[in-house]
Amino acid sequence: MKMFDKPFTTQMLRRKSPWGTQRRHGSGGESRFSLRSLCASAPLWLIFFFSLLALPALAKEAEPLAADAVTEKRLVEISSELRCLVCQNESLAASNAELAHDLRREIRTLLKNGKSDSEIMAFMVERYGDFVRYRPPLKASTLVLWFGPLLLLIGGLSALFLYLRRRNQAISDAPLSAGESSQADRLLQANDPRQ
C-alpha cells in the first residue's frame, strides 16, 4: 500500500508562516472607536483595505517539497529500480515502510555527496545482495533471463518457417472431381451476396 514516498519528516523546510506578522494588521491595541480615531487611522485602514484586495496575489505558488528537485528526481529513478525488502513486492520509491524511509534518506545523502548511480547501486548490493535490484544484473546466472526472450522469438519464428515448409511438401492439393466441382459452383451461387 503506498501513500507518499517522500519522507516529510526529514526533508521539510520549517519556516514561519509568511502571514505571521501581517495578521496583526488592523487589529491594533486601542479599542476606542471614535470618529476621530477612525480618521486618524484612515491611512492604516486604506492600507488594510488594499492589502485585502491584494490577498489573491499574495497567495503564493506552492514550494516544492524537496529542497533539491534534481536530487529528488535521481532519487526516484534509482529507488524505482530497488526493492523494498520488508514489503510484499513494492519498489523502494513507492513503499511507505520505515526501512524504506531510512534507505531513501541514505541514498539522498549519497547523491548529495556526489556519488554516481552505479556507486549507489553497488552500495545497496554490498549490503543487501542482488535481491534488492529489480533489474537483475547481467551475470552468468541471468544470461537465460536476459537473452531468453530473444532466443525464444528467433526459435519460434524459425520453427514456424521450417514446419510450414515441411508441411507444404507433405500435403498435396487434391484437385476436385467433376461432381465436387459443380457442387462447389452451386454452393457459391446460393451464398452469393450479390444476389
Binding site: T9, L85, L99, D102, E106, E126, R127, Y128, G129
Partner: protein
C-alpha cells in the same frame, strides 16, 4: 519419440520446479556480507546514567569469536528470543554484543521531529537499561544505533538479527529473525566451536 510429448515433458519440468519451490521461503534473504569484514563503526555504549559516554567499535573484539545481536525494546520478536539469548550467554562461554537499533525512532509512539538529539540519546539509554534490567542482560555490552545507519551497513532489514563474527573480524553467519534453541545448538554453537579452534 512422439514429438507431441514435448508439452508434457516441459510441464513435468515446471511441476518439479514448483514442487521444489513449495519448500523454499521467498522472503528469506541471504546476506552478501558473509565472508566479508564486519563493517566498522564507533557507537556509544550503554553505561550507567550520568557516566561519561564511552564508545565501542568492533575492532576491540579482534582475536575473539563473538556474536552481534540487533535488538530493540519495541520489537516483539526480540522479547521472544531474549530468554534464549540469556540462557545461551549463561551456559556457554559465548560473547554477545548487543546493537540497540533505532530505540526511539523505530517506536511509532515517538515523533522524532519533536525530540532533540540529546533527549533521544537519554530516552534510548533509559529504555534500554530498564528493559535489560527487567528481562536480563546477556550482553557484554550494547551499542546504541540511534538512527539505524550502522544497521544499514550491516544489511539489517528486520529486528532481531544475529551475526557470528570470527577472530579476524569477518562475518561468518547471519541469522534473521528470533534465535531459537535449535538454531543455537544446531548452528551457532558448532560454528563458534569451529571458529575458536
Amino acid at each position: 519419440m512422439n514429438r507431441f510429448l514435448w508439452p508434457l515433458i516441459a510441464f513435468v519440468g515446471l511441476a518439479v520446479l514448483l514442487a521444489v519451490g513449495l519448500r523454499l521461503n521467498p522472503r528469506d534473504v541471504p546476506s552478501p556480507l558473509v565472508g566479508k569484514p564486519a563493517p566498522q563503526f564507533s557507537l556509544e555504549k550503554i553505561a550507567a546514567p550520568g557516566a561519561p559516554a564511552q564508545m565501542f567499535s568492533p575492532q576491540e573484539m579482534r582475536g575473539k569469536v563473538w556474536l552481534l545481536n540487533v535488538w530493540s525494546t519495541w520489537c516483539v520478536s526480540c522479547r521472544q528470543e531474549h530468554p534464549v539469548l540469556v540462557d545461551m550467554a549463561k551456559r556457554s562461554a559465548l560473547t554477545l554484543v548487543g546493537l540497540n537499533y533505532k530505540e526511539v525512532r523505530g517506536d511509532a509512539a515517538f515523533d522524532i521531529d519533536k525530540i532533540a538529539p540529546e533527549r533521544e540519546r537519554q530516552l534510548a539509554l533509559e529504555r534500554a537499561t530498564n528493559w535489560l534490567r527487567r528481562h536480563g542482560d546477556p550482553y557484554l555490552l550494547s551499542a546504541l544505533d540511534l538512527d539505524g545507519r550502522v544497521g544499514i551497513d550491516y544489511g539489517v532489514y528486520g529486528v532481531p538479527e544475529t551475526y557470528v563474527i570470527d577472530k579476524a573480524g569477518l562475518i561468518r553467519m547471519k541469522h534473521t529473525g528470533p534465535v531459537t534453541p535449535e538454531i543455537v545448538s544446531g548452528k551457532i554453537l558448532p560454528l563458534v566451536a569451529e571458529l575458536s579452534k
